[in-house]
């Protein structure tokens, strides 16, 4: 697929989403270390370009289902950082009144229907959301974000079959972040365990339109997502995008660790890079790469980038403060919201 360079407005909009995602996740990690919440959690650091560019390509009425690595998708979709952080902290002011937490946060008012922490669960739900769109004769699309491990689940393969049979307007975004990840042999997260040498072979077997992209390249992801939405809206059926990213070194076993701390000056001043993860920061950090690119394209100055950076940090910090100050839910409300 030929990728045209992104215009200034689109590039900056994607970059702003990425900044919010990154600083939100750094705040989540900090609040966990401060014991503001206790559960296990997953960070989106290192995958921001994929989510931000896909979300940029969507319209307000499009629907989103995602997997447990969900904070970036929520923040990128425009969910309030305060309410999102409050949900992660289990507060009554959270997006879901503390019923969902990090593993299930959702924002239906923004078309963000579900975070399913059942591996592959979101693929079925996104396919269903697309079926709902079809039966309602609407022209929006549904997107399901999931990791490469989801391709091991039967439900995902069954969903491909039905989406292809019924030409459903669903876009599967497989965020392949296994590269660079420690496998279980190194005491790390499990990575994909599969006999196939290419995940796109699976949806392709059902005739689904498949694209592989560099997940750290906003132009490539945006082009793939835009093409997929156009196909869906034209009734041409589902699409599958496999976006490759290199795992952030902080995705260590069980709980993320503060392996790197973002400093955008490193984007244009490599001499500042230091520590054990210089290679990841230099070659694979999508935020530094995008900052460098938009300056190189002449879209913004370094000072303007730093102004965007400051603004995103401030918005995230205001959200974190709101979450910390928010009350816990009252225990007598545990029975509320089971049924409509």
């Amino acid at each position: 697929m030929k990728v045209s360079p992104l215009d200034r407005k689109t590039s900056l909009s994607i970059f702003d989403r990425m900044l919010m995602m990154r600083y939100f996740e750094e705040a989540v990690l900090r609040l966990h270390q401060e014991r503001q919440f206790a559960s296990h959690f997953h960070l989106y650091i290192g995958q921001e370009a994929t989510g931000a560019a896909v979300l940029e390509a969507l319209g307000d009425k499009d629907l989103i289902c995602t997997t447990h690595r969900n904070h970036g998708h929520l923040i990128g979709r425009g969910s309030d950082p305060g309410q999102t952080m409050a949900e992660i902290l289990g507060r009554s002011s959270g997006l879901n009144r503390g019923r969902g937490g990090t593993l299930h946060a959702s924002d239906p008012s923004r078309g963000f229907l579900s975070t399913s922490a059942i591996v592959g669960g979101c693929a079925g739900l996104a396919t269903g959301a697309a079926f709902g769109i079809k039966t309602k004769r609407e022209s929006n699309v549904a997107v399901g974000f999931f990791g490469d491990g989801s391709l091991e689940e039967g439900l995902v393969i069954e969903s491909f079959n039905i989406a292809a049979l019924w030409k459903l307007p669903v876009i599967y975004v497989c965020e392949n972040n296994s590269a660079g990840a420690m496998g279980p042999q190194q005491g790390g997260y499990p990575t994909a365990i599969t006999a196939t040498d290419s995940f796109t072979r699976l949806p392709a077997a059902y005739g689904i339109h498949c694209v592989k992209v560099d997940g750290a390249d906003i132009a490539a992801v945006y082009a793939a997502a835009t093409e997929a939405t156009q196909r869906c809206r034209a009734g041409q059926g589902p699409a599958f995008i496999e976006a490759f990213t290199v795992r952030w070194p902080g995705s260590s076993p069980l709980w993320p660790e503060p392996a790197t701390v973002t400093d955008l000056n490193e984007a244009w001043d490599p001499a500042r890079l230091k520590g054990p993860h210089v290679a990841w920061l230099r070659d694979h950090d999508p935020l530094l790469r995008t900052a460098r690119d938009i300056v190189a394209h002449g879209y913004v100055s370094q000072d303007e980038v730093m102004a965007h950076d400051k603004d995103a940090r401030a918005r995230v910090e205001a959200g974190a403060a709101f979450a910390i100050e928010s009350p816990m839910p009252l225990s007598e409300t545990a029975h509320e919201h089971v049924f409509a």
Binding site: G100, S116, L125, A129, L155, S159
Partner: protein, 334 residues
């Protein structure tokens, strides 16, 4: 009122819903099972060809797709077929549909209906005879409906389709041919309201679905013994009408439950526990559960007959607890 088959009443409820709500669609069309009444679905296929989607044999996916479509604002009716197959779709049913509203903090609705045919059907053996209602009752967030008559199935199905919650609609293949009075006009039977199918002063007999008919047969035969049995059909397990069951036990002082789910942690167990907690002082004799025993369903007819909850087993249970030699455990409070 006109007589109509149970299967015909289902088709009427589906037709009304399809006509009324353009977002209502069917995923799977073997709602009436594979018996002779299945041809009644042909009219739906003819009238609404673009509203009926026959899916591949992918129970997990169709359950998940039903949940996702409902989240997106549609009203899907997902036919799983034989209830034993629902186990293949357990995760999306229990992990997604049931909990989605709660996990969203009340900001999401999941108006999906999952339809299935449960129970002993004659030769169904270990993989086509399941009665998963008790297991599903242990998954909070699902409404569970078990009709027993043509009147109830039409009204309950209309309520299920209008419900904004995920609803498990459990029919029984052996109900399809049963005839009964069904109004021509549209109506709903509300959830959470039990129906007293037969009034009686001596024993409360709780039954749902197909075994309501075994319960009625037992009640009629026990008249000869001078025993008047009250048959209470909860019609929905979630929500459950505690009050009608408790009030009945208050009047009769005795409780027998007949059910096709296996004994342990079954429907009968839960109703027994409710009476033990909320109506213990009403009881004049022990509660008796007449259910499938805790064994897989056998194929061979005499073996299947042996494990089937029947009118004869209910009659034996009622005679046992009505025996005047039985020690009275507590004075009646009425």
């Amino acid at each position: 009122m006109r007589k109509m088959s149970y299967a015909g009443a289902i088709v009427e409820a589906l037709r009304t819903s399809l006509s009324e709500d353009p977002t209502f669609s069917l995923v799977g069309s073997y709602v009436l099972g594979l018996g002779p009444k299945r041809i009644l679905m042909d009219s739906i296929r003819t009238e609404f060809p673009d509203r009926l989607y026959d899916p591949p044999t992918s129970e997990a996916a169709i359950v998940s797709i039903g949940a996702g479509a409902a989240m997106a604002g549609a009203r899907p009716f997902v036919d799983i077929g034989t209830a034993s197959f629902s186990y293949v779709g357990w995760s999306p049913m229990v992990n997604e549909a049931a909990v989605a509203r709660y996990m969203s903090g009340g900001s999401l609705r999941v108006p999906v209906v999952y339809h299935m045919l449960h129970g002993l059907r004659g030769g169904g053996a270990g993989q086509h005879s399941g009665s998963p209602q008790a297991m599903l009752w242990n998954a909070p967030g699902l409404e569970i409906v078990l009709p027993s008559s043509p009147y109830d199935v039409k009204g309950l199905m209309r309520s299920a389709i209008k419900s904004d919650n995920p609803t498990i609609f459990i029919n029984h293949a052996r109900l399809m041919d049963i005839e009964g009075d069904v109004p021509v006009e549209d109506y709903t039977v509300p959830f959470g309201r039990a129906d007293i199918k037969r009034a009686g002063r001596d024993v409360t007999l709780v039954a749902t679905s197909f075994v309501v008919h075994a319960a009625m047969s037992a009640a009629e035969q026990l008249v000869a013994d001078g025993i008047e049995v009250e048959v209470v059909d909860p019609r929905t397990l979630v929500p459950l009408d505690h009050k009608t069951i408790l009030d009945s036990v208050y009047r009769t002082g005795r409780l027998v439950i007949i059910d096709e789910a296996p004994l342990s942690c079954g429907v009968a167990s839960e109703i027994s526990a409710i009476i033990a907690e909320e109506g213990f002082e009403y009881l004049r004799s022990p509660v008796v559960r007449v259910t499938r025993p805790d064994i897989p369903v056998p194929f061979s007819k005499p073996l299947e007959d042996a494990i089937t909850p029947t009118a004869d087993k209910v009659i034996a249970a009622v005679r046992r607890i009505m025996d005047p030699r039985l020690k009275k455990s507590a004075p009646r409070l009425s």
